[in-house]
């Protein structure tokens, strides 16, 4: 049975379907839309100024992205009410990638803060660092936190736990 609907964790197949081909991954940041179920929702399409998220014929459509148009700006990450969109930049460094994660907790982490990286089940999978924080529009917008992570975890890390400096 579909793990998404029994555990909340999408299956490997689900993820493969929303990850761009290798050559696109090597070209720069891209959005990955982890929204697999038809629900009546469409702000992602309206948020993208580059027309990368196709117009919905029906409000229940699953979002479709054209990665050739996506700049990785992460505006959609903050706009999605399902917190289902992430931006991944696998060209960030030799060893590291950069991942944009929607974040709605206080306090917001700060640039340079070390974090524990977590996967889609909330399990700690490695260590990373906050590189940039784009705080949400007042009064109640979603913030976007960019964390650096080991490159091999580019398709794995989808959350983080701020580490208290010890």
């Amino acid at each position: 049975m579909n793990t998404l609907l029994t555990t909340g964790v999408p299956s490997a197949q689900d993820i493969a379907g929303v990850t761009p081909p290798d050559e696109r991954r090597k070209r720069g940041p891209y959005a990955t839309i982890e929204c697999f179920q038809p629900i009546p929702c469409d702000p992602c399409h309206h948020s993208c100024r580059f027309g990368a998220i196709q117009e919905f014929e029906d409000i229940n459509d699953i979002p479709k992205i054209d990665w050739s148009k996506c700049t990785g700006c992460a505006v959609c990450v903050a706009a999605c009410p399902g917190l289902a969109i992430f931006v991944v930049d696998e060209t960030y460094g030799e060893e590291e990638c950069l991942i944009a994660i929607p974040y709605e907790f206080v306090p917001l982490p700060e640039k340079g803060q070390p974090v524990r990286l977590t996967d889609r089940a909330g399990i700690v999978v490695g260590d990373g660092t906050v590189q940039r924080v784009v705080s949400g529009r007042k009064p109640a917008g979603t913030s976007v936190v960019w964390v650096s992570a080991p490159k091999r975890l580019a398709t794995v890390v989808r959350g983080f736990i701020p580490r208290k400096e010890d």
Binding site: T6, G8, V9, P40, C41, P43, I59, P81, F105, G122
Partner: protein
């Protein structure tokens, strides 16, 4: 006891009632809105998460902000009188609503009435469910989002519908641990994106699981959960002991339909819509002429559908008072019906669609019986048999 006369009385100032009031008022109807809460907005006041739905219809906005905007619009409308902190206690055959205001008991008499009272939370039975620390999800939301109080340190959530998932997320945001979400069904009830969001934060969602018992001396100190077999019986040996001080029930809502029973509107038990709901036609009018419904009281759905249905009820009430020309009415109504159909068109709304289809069939059966000379239905709000402009042949699906 004073009597307040009004063209349109609306009970409930959630998204449905407010949108009904705004729509009716925009056509010049003198409208009185009654809500037992202090603030307007109904369920929306508790909702700090961003809403789904159409971008142009405030999707991506938080419920609480939608409530603010709507209440502002209400305050700016000179045709709307608000009676807040006022409960509608009963409805009398002559069309009188008995209300309890902070000053005492009053009567409100409306030429038309819209019932938009929303829904109440269901409870389930298990040993220990009367211990302090067992809350409904709505109570937990009110504590946290309206009063800024944490219900406890660590929570077991019962139910994985959108409410259970969203309240779990809000608990996490407030710094409360959520030990687990248990769900008796084999699959998660709410939207997958909401489930993934809390799963990512490390909260296990256990399908085919339920609570066996709560324990504790003076209050909840823990809960035993277990797995269910195919016939919904607990499987001995699968028990897990969770140390929690709060058990939060999010096991569904039931329409708050007392006033509709009292008016003698035809009601039916339709599980897909959440229990006993009124039969209503395409104009949101019940079988009691002049009494309209909108929102969760007519079937448990969403704020987005409640707002659209509320507008339709307000429009229809205005039209039956002779305030909306036919062509304008037809145009506005078609727009709202198209919006509702869009909102309900996806697989996530399959249950609602089948519930509404059943409701329409039952309505047609009642109407057919009436035409065949069955029992006369209760008279209109103020004793009129047929209100100006309302048209009983315009039944849904007809």
């Amino acid at each position: 006891m004073s009597v307040r006369k009004t063209e349109l009385a609306i009970v409930g100032a959630g998204p449905a009632g407010i949108c009904a009031a705004l729509e009716a008022a925009s056509h010049g109807v003198k409208t009185t809105v009654i809500d037992r809460g202090e603030e307007l907005g109904g369920q929306l006041i508790k909702q700090t998460h961003k809403f789904f739905g159409w971008h142009k219809k405030s999707a991506g906005t938080r419920g609480i902000l939608i409530a603010k905007k709507l209440s502002e619009d209400v305050r700016n409308s000179e045709n709307i009188t608000v009676l807040n902190s006022t409960e509608a206690l009963g409805y009398y055959d002559d069309g009188t609503l008995l209300v309890e205001t902070p000053q005492g008991i009053d009567r409100v008499i409306g030429d038309r009435m819209i019932v938009a009272t929303g829904a109440s939370e269901r409870m389930i039975l298990f040993p220990g469910n009367d211990l302090p620390g067992v809350y409904g999800a709505g109570a937990v939301q009110t504590l946290m989002n309206a009063h800024g109080v944490r219900p406890g340190q660590s929570v077991l959530m019962i139910g994985s519908g959108n409410i259970g998932l969203i309240v779990s997320y809000q608990l996490l945001q407030a710094g409360v641990r959520v030990e687990a979400v248990v769900e008796a069904m084999p699959t998660i009830g709410g939207y997958a994106v909401h489930a993934s969001k809390i799963r990512r934060l490390g909260v296990p969602i256990l399908t085919r699981h339920t609570i066996k018992e709560a324990y504790g001396k003076d209050q909840v100190e823990g809960a035993i959960i277990w797995e269910l077999d195919d016939s919904w019986n607990g499987i001995p040996g699968t028990e897990k002991d969770l140390k929690v001080d709060v058990i939060c029930l999010a096991v569904g809502l039931s329409p708050l339909a007392e006033l509709l029973w009292q008016c003698g509107a035809e009601m039916a038990y339709i599980p897909e819509l959440g229990g006993f709901v009124p039969l209503y036609d395409e104009n949101m009018e019940t079988t009691r002429k002049g009494v309209f419904v909108a929102g969760d009281v007519a079937g448990i759905e969403e704020a987005s559908t409640a707002m659209a249905a509320g507008r339709l009820a307000g429009l229809s009430a205005a039209r039956s008072l002779g305030k909306v020309p036919d062509d304008e009415y037809a145009k506005l109504k078609a727009e709202i019906l198209a919006e509702l159909e869009g909102l309900r068109s996806g697989p996530a709304s399959a249950k609602i669609r089948s519930g509404l289809a059943k409701m329409r069939e039952m309505l047609q059966a009642v109407q057919a019986k009436e035409l065949a000379g069955g029992e006369p239905r209760p008279q209109g709000v103020r004793g009129e048999r047929d209100c100006a402009g309302s048209n009983s042949e315009e039944a849904v699906g007809a």
